[in-house]
């Protein structure tokens, strides 16, 4: 199989600037050389490729849309999206790492942190020297985070955290956790550093999905954190939700990368796999599947490109992000399943990547707001009636 050339049926490249294309191609080159050769083995062995983190930092891929003065690359949101696309062409686990680090850890510190917190954490998180995680979801509060049980109590000198967070990407490898807890009934953000007494982060093992990514539980038992570790600008659940909007924006782009990898693999396979003395690509049922894939990738590309332009203009609405996340992830998963179909028995072998993407996308479809919750967010936006409270 030749080098991946991207998928661009509608000359969407002509809508990108030279710099956006150069950024995408540079990340693609890195993924091709450093990620693809090792990712399958990491996935099989359920290991996160930690050695790639400093390289991602060096290239500026972490929190890349945040300002230069905090050590970030300060690129626009379309270029940021293209990075997510290329990372997820490697693996959803790698993109998840970057999404959490940038959108769920660096973004809230940048937006609601004190100047001191920003100066300390952002350059270290941008370089990959420090790793972060984001604790919002709890064992009993997934789609309904407002019901969270984790509390913070002001005991005069410190805050005391109690509770547990669940399904936390990067949890066990994180140096700092952005934890959301109720202080006097109001959801606030706190920075909890690794090693703080009363804080532990056991890894969730034996996953069928996102195996090249670390997923953990965060446990707080009378965990005492310094007063200056509260994110001073936070004032409610809406802050946590706006982090999710940032991350979902990247996911909508990322899913396209996984879809492109599967489409590319299925197309190549169908052109070379001979049955009944002809390449299987000559059969109508295979062409139907391939066209569906290309069709949905092309629509998804135009969707996120316009979303990115709106974000850069400051006009993006969170319901638009929900629409893009639900659409692109849904179709990416369908594309991965179809690619696996086309590959038939070979599709279950680790020689091919489509089934790894398929298993990953099963998580991506229900994390960061399930597909159904995003449907209801858009539903509320257009009808004015909330269907989930």
């Amino acid at each position: 199989m030749g080098k991946f050339q991207g998928v661009d049926f509608y000359d969407i490249d002509s809508l990108l600037s030279e710099e956006e294309k150069l950024i995408r191609d540079s990340v693609r080159e890195w993924v091709e050389a450093e990620v693809l050769p090792i990712i399958e083995e990491h996935y099989q062995q359920a290991k996160f490729p930690l050695h790639l983190v400093p390289q991602m930092g060096e290239m500026g891929l972490l929190g890349s849309n945040l300002p230069e003065e905090y050590g970030c690359a300060e690129i626009n949101n379309v270029a940021y999206g293209l990075i997510m696309q290329e990372l997820e062409r490697g693996d959803s686990g790698l993109r998840s790492f970057a999404s959490v680090q940038g959108a769920l850890v660096m973004y809230p510190i940048f937006t609601w942190g004190s100047e001191e917190q920003k100066r300390y954490w952002l350059p270290r998180l941008a370089s990959g020297e420090k790793i972060g995680c984001f604790g919002l979801t709890e064992p009993d509060y997934g789609s309904n985070p407002g019901g969270m049980k984790t509390t913070a109590v002001d005991d005069g000198d410190a805050y005391i955290l109690n509770g547990a967070k669940m399904w936390i990407t990067n949890g066990s490898i994180a140096d700092v956790a952005v934890v959301w807890a109720k202080l006097d009934g109001v959801v606030r953000g706190f920075l909890v550093e690794k090693g703080t007494p009363g804080f532990s982060a056991p890894e969730i093992k034996n996953k069928h999905s996102l195996r090249a990514s670390v997923t953990s539980e965060l446990v707080f038992q009378d965990c005492q954190i310094p007063k200056e570790n509260i994110l001073p600008g936070t004032s409610g659940l809406k802050n946590a939700l706006s982090c999710l909007t940032q991350a979902r924006y990247g996911i909508a782009w990322g899913a396209l990368g996984a879809a492109m990898a599967c489409y590319d693999e299925a197309l190549n396979y169908s052109q070379t796999r001979i049955q009944f003395d002809r390449p299987i690509a000559s059969f109508q049922l295979i062409q139907d599947k391939l066209v569906y894939m290309l069709n949905e990738i092309t629509k998804g590309q135009l969707l996120v490109l316009q979303l990115g332009r709106l974000k850069d203009q400051g006009k993006m609405h969170f319901a638009q992000v929900s629409l893009a996340k639900r659409n692109n992830v849904y179709h990416a998963l369908e594309i991965a399943r179809l690619a696996r179909d086309i590959l038939a028995a070979n599709g279950i072998s680790s020689e091919y990547q489509s089934m790894r993407h398929m298993c990953n996308l099963e998580s991506v479809k229900t994390y960061e707001g399930t597909h159904d919750i995003h449907t209801l967010i858009v539903g509320e936006k257009i009808t004015g009636i909330s269907a989930f409270v």
Partner: protein, 249 residues
């Protein structure tokens, strides 16, 4: 150190070439362009030298404005300056390119002039040597190792079946081979910085070409393989076919 790196924009290695209706060149339609891969080794070596010894790296390319993305790609690796020599298209005759480059290079007072060992589109591998001749400078081609001590330059170059070690005085012209170094990945910061560097455009009168391409064509299609038999009995027939038909032994 003051270093120049001459780079060329070439079609991506994955391009499926089509022949232009003129029959004299490759069609440029739908081609994705990249920085010539050997030039990346040249840029990397130059960057490492200035990182160690101080100085600056100037990227130079000849061509229309359409080659500027490639110049930016080289700048994004970390070069400080860029010059584009205006030309409507890439000259078919490498001597024309070499003369134009030499014209610009002689004004730059460079300690070292780097090239990739060849461009992967026309594969001539002539321009570095021609430039060195035009500037009356020593030249080492196909270089896989380079050391500098004071004013003395020591290089290793690949030759058939081995390596050759040369010492040269500076200034000198070097053409880079794969193995010289491991080119860095372009960082986002590098890309953003490169965006702000002005590319100086210079006009040079191009010499008329003395070489003309008459025709380009695809290699003949590969014939399917042939099984001549099995076991030791088949050997004489195989030898005969290799000798008489394939004419390889």
């Amino acid at each position: 150190m003051n270093i120049a790196v001459c780079v060329k924009q070439v079609p991506d290695t994955e391009t499926r070439p089509k022949i232009d209706p003129s029959g004299k060149k490759m069609s440029e339609e739908g081609v994705k362009w990249i920085l010539n891969p050997y030039d990346e080794f040249a840029v990397e070596e130059a960057l490492q030298l200035v990182e160690k010894n101080g100085g600056e790296v100037t990227v130079i390319s000849l061509g229309p404005a359409a080659v500027e993305p490639t110049i930016r790609a080289a700048l994004a690796m970390g070069a400080q300056k860029a010059i584009r020599i205006e030309a409507e298209e890439n000259p078919a005759d490498p001597l024309v390119t070499a003369k134009a480059l030499a014209e610009v290079l002689k004004q730059g007072n460079y300690d070292l002039i780097f090239f990739g060992k060849q461009a992967i589109d026309d594969d001539y591998a002539q321009v570095p040597q021609m430039v060195a001749t035009a500037l009356d400078l020593p030249c080492a081609t196909v270089v896989v190792k380079l050391d500098i001590e004071g004013e003395k330059l020591t290089v290793e170059r690949e030759i058939e079946g081995g390596k050759e070690k040369l010492s040269l005085s500076m200034p000198a012209v070097i053409s880079a081979q794969k193995g010289l170094n491991e080119p860095r990945y372009r960082s986002l910061k590098g890309i953003m910085k490169a965006k702000k560097i002005p590319i100086e455009t210079v006009q040079v009168e191009l010499a008329s070409g003395q070489l003309e391409i008459e025709k380009v064509k695809f290699p003949p299609e590969k014939q399917p393989g042939k099984i001549v038999g099995k076991g030791a009995d088949a050997v004489p027939e195989l030898v005969r076919l290799l000798h008489e038909e394939a004419k390889v032994i």
